[in-house]
Amino acid sequence: MNYIPHTEDEIKEMLGTIGASSLDDLFSEIDKSFFSKSFNLSEGRSEFELFEYLKKIAAKNDTSLINLSGGGFYDHYIPAVVDKLTSRSEFYTPYTPYQPECSQGTLQSIYEYQTLICRLTGMDVTNASVYDGGTALAEGIIMASRITKRKKVIIDSALNPLYQKIIRTYLNPDFYQIMIVDSSGYGLNRKKFLELLDSDTAAVVFQNPNFFGKIDDYSDLVKAAHEKQILTILSTYPIALGLLKSPGSFGFDIVTGEAQCLGNQLNFGGPLLGFIAIRKKYVRQLPGRIVGATEDKVGRRGFVLTLQTREQHIRRNKATSNICTNQNLSAIKALIYLASLGKDGFRKLSKMNYFKAQFARKALAQIDKIKIDLNYPIFNEFVIEIENLGQLYPKILEKDFIPGIPLAQFYPEMKNKLLICITEKISKQDILKFKSILESITYLI
């Protein structure tokens, strides 16, 4: 199948209009030697054959496990309205809304999305979204460096290690100086941070809740940084913002994060949804598309892409970023998700994650051979230590649980440590079952 509607007669007629003798003739300006001798590709298939083929391959994935892993990529329940609405052709088959008169559906949705991201983060301005939480942060750092005209960036090691890798890839080492401050325990090494802040520092970067699930009060560090005209950047987890103090009220200048957790499936890691929200005074340094409100000729409210002179299609090499589009459909999913939960629902959901995780942490702490530090406040993730984790991990998988993320691959000193996440989808029964699995397998050690 090739979805081409032309009949042979139509092709002939069109070739006649063009004055070409054949379809090959259309390519006659191109040297014959440029054409490839062979394409080693299979023959086309019918839709039915392909459906069966992919169904078989899909069956080689196992999504029946109970997922206790998070680390930035969360398994939350998605109300049915989210997918039903965003699977409307009108949302998923247009492109960038260059022509506002016939793109108000997309534009108004993004304006609403921008409003909600600002309300969640307590910030003034956001854009129409970027690729993911990691690149959002990289763009945020680049932006901070441009504003401060400084090159040093100080990053807490409890920032998502995958983001740390993306940042290292994005930031040109000839230009930027990246310093990582090792956490003390699971938290922030405040003393070290305060020592390092200097007049060469463009930005400090934290994550709340941090990668180990710890939540913290950043007001002292934000204040100390601002005294030296250093910009403060926070990477955050939107579901936690239903309960936790907003980054805006801590005084952060740039807030980024991954919003896949708002109504987007895990999809094996993509598409994701990055956001970047800032103080208004920096709006001309913000990368990416921005939607703004305006009026048509007779005064009807409507929305357009605005402040486009920041962007690559106009500013080219001087643009604030090379980013061209946004994660539009993912952003609309996040919007409909938040609108569906509503003010009360979102608070409840956030609390539910919090209560369940506290319950699970206490419950698992009762197991003899498991060590859990109960002394630091968490939202819905925490670290546990199990002897011989390497051997036990596959056994837990066999009992139908994804037991979290083994931390040693990112933090070699964290051997035997596991990062566990409890969302609203995990029932009390699941938690107790997981507990008894851990009890029985650790008992055998």
Binding site: P5, L41, L54, G71, G72, G242, G292, I314, A339, G342
Partner: protein, 486 residues
């Protein structure tokens, strides 16, 4: 239309959550806690559904309107792609299972498909290996630039510049700048392709790479492309193929065989993954042998027992541009598309795409100025310079097309053509649709002569008249505030 916030009613309950099945406990201390609820809208489900259903209807989209947006390849998105992407065992799979080798056995299906797509794209581009990680075409470009940088640094080559033709997409020079290079813009010659003489002058030892879109954004295939690549290689200058326009040569020419070292693809263009109103897309990048060590990691490998796992051991890898494997869902759709079309299908794509574009160009040549009189590839650029004499701009014609139920082509790009209209019909549009479009374009040309006012006032009798973009930029209303200024 009203905003969702304006439909919100205080205290109305929205989505119902299950009962909390664990005991409540102490909340975090006050310095960590937000006392107020986030001000989200409070609407009932039916109201929510109506709001977004009605809002969606304000969009022109590919499924409802002809959408010949140049350089964006708005081809039909087969519905089976959505069905496959919706399989629960794809959509609900956590990438975290890939963080431990012990988890690989639970993700074999998705890894198998990624592996298959890596190989298919390698074959289609003629490269040696493909990374699926880049999340969009622009990010693919950045990935390419970072690999170029790593390659030259490894060889201790002192390089400063990247050459781009003046017809290039804005993302090209922007990606160059992000990687820490300076771009050199080369003008277009009278044939509509990069001026070879000036290129030769600028091609010094300090040049790191040359980026070419081929066919270029004028829809013209550069007949000197092989020579350009050869000249570059003589100075250890790497050659980068911007795949935005691959649809023109799909299944016929492999960019790496023309001499390109790096090739990025836009799966949302050439391989029919829907555009989503602006994203998510996917921008895989293929490279030839000498650049393989610099690819982002991990990529997928198959062992001798036909088990799939991840390779991430090259000391020269540039790192990561995405946390996992790129936009898996988009990759899956592109794979489905390639498998359905197969070899003959893909070859037919470029033939009919080129046929459709030339048909439009030929049919309109007496009505609009053609900046270059030669055959076009998958898109054609025409100009409203003739109409400009009557005060009619490309923008006026675009707005008239909206009134007539057609999404306008790309306008004012490429920058080197005044009053440019860049038309890319794609292969999935029928002759009948093209004929209707041609008729409307002819009528616009006639109106420009006889009744320019009609065009200046377009779109007329439409849901909206033209928006005031100056006001939007000056006033900067970028989020909604209610009467309480919240």
């Amino acid at each position: 239309m009203k905003l969702i916030f304006e439909k919100s009613t205080f205290d109305r309950e929205g989505f119902k959550l299950p009962k909390l099945d664990v005991p409540e406990c102490k909340l975090p201390t006050d310095n960590l806690l937000e006392s107020k609820k986030v001000n989200l809208p409070q609407v009932g489900e039916l109201e929510l559904v109506r709001h977004y259903t009605n809002l969606s209807k304000l969009n022109y989209c590919l499924d409802s309107h002809f959408y010949p947006l140049g350089s964006c390849t708005m081809k039909y998105n087969p519905k089976i792609l959505e069905t496959i992407a919706g399989f629960e065992s794809f959509s609900n799979l956590t990438p975290n299972l890939s963080l431990s080798k012990k988890g690989f056995k639970y993700i074999q299906g998705s890894l198998a498909l990624l592996f298959q797509l890596q190989n298919l794209l390698t074959e289609i581009t003629g490269t040696s290996k493909v990374t699926l990680q880049p999340l969009a075409g622009a990010q693919g470009e950045l990935t390419g630039m970072l690999m170029i940088k790593a390659y030259h640094q490894k060889k201790n080559n002192q390089k400063k510049y990247v050459i781009v033709p003046d017809t290039s997409h804005g993302t090209n020079p922007a990606s160059v700048a992000m990687a820490g290079y300076e771009s050199i813009s080369i003008p277009t010659g009278p044939e509509g392709q990069m001026d070879l003489k000036i290129f030769k002058e600028k091609l010094t030892d300090e040049v790191a790479a040359v980026i070419m879109t081929c066919p270029n954004t004028l829809g013209i295939f550069n007949t000197q492309i092989k020579q350009i690549c050869d000249l570059a290689h003589q100075k250890d200058v790497l050659t980068y193929y911007d795949g935005a326009n691959l649809n023109a040569i799909l299944g016929k020419i492999k960019p790496a065989e023309l001499g390109f070292d790096i090739v990025h693809l836009n799966l949302h263009k050439t391989f029919s993954a829907p555009h989503g109103g602006g994203g998510p897309g996917a921008g895989p990048v293929g490279v030839v042998d000498k650049l393989v060590p610099f690819l982002p990691e991990p990529y997928i490998v198959k062992d001798k027992n036909d088990q799939f796992s991840l390779y991430q051991q090259s000391p020269d890898s540039i790192g990561k541009v995405a946390p996992f494997f790129g936009n898996f869902q988009v990759l899956l759709k592109a794979l489905t598309y390639i498998l359905i079309l197969g070899k003959e299908g893909l070859e037919k794509v470029s033939e009919i795409a080129v046929l459709n574009a030339n048909y439009i160009m030929e049919s309109l040549k007496d009505y609009y100025q053609l900046p270059f009189r030669r055959r076009c590839m998958h898109e054609c650029v025409i100009s409203a310079q003739k109409q400009k004499e009557k005060g009619i701009s490309a923008l006026n014609i675009a707005k008239y097309l909206i009134q007539e139920g057609i999404h306008p082509p790309t306008i004012y790009f490429p920058l080197i053509v005044k009053e440019a209209m860049m038309i890319e019909p794609t292969e999935t549009e029928s002759k009948k649709t093209l004929d209707q479009f041609i008729q409307i374009m002819k009528k616009a040309a006639k109106l420009a002569k006889e009744s320019p006012q009609t065009l200046k006032q377009a779109p007329a009798n439409f849901i909206f008249s033209r928006f005031d973009e100056v006001k939007a930029a000056r006033n900067q209303n970028l989020k909604y505030k209610n009467n309480n200024n919240e």
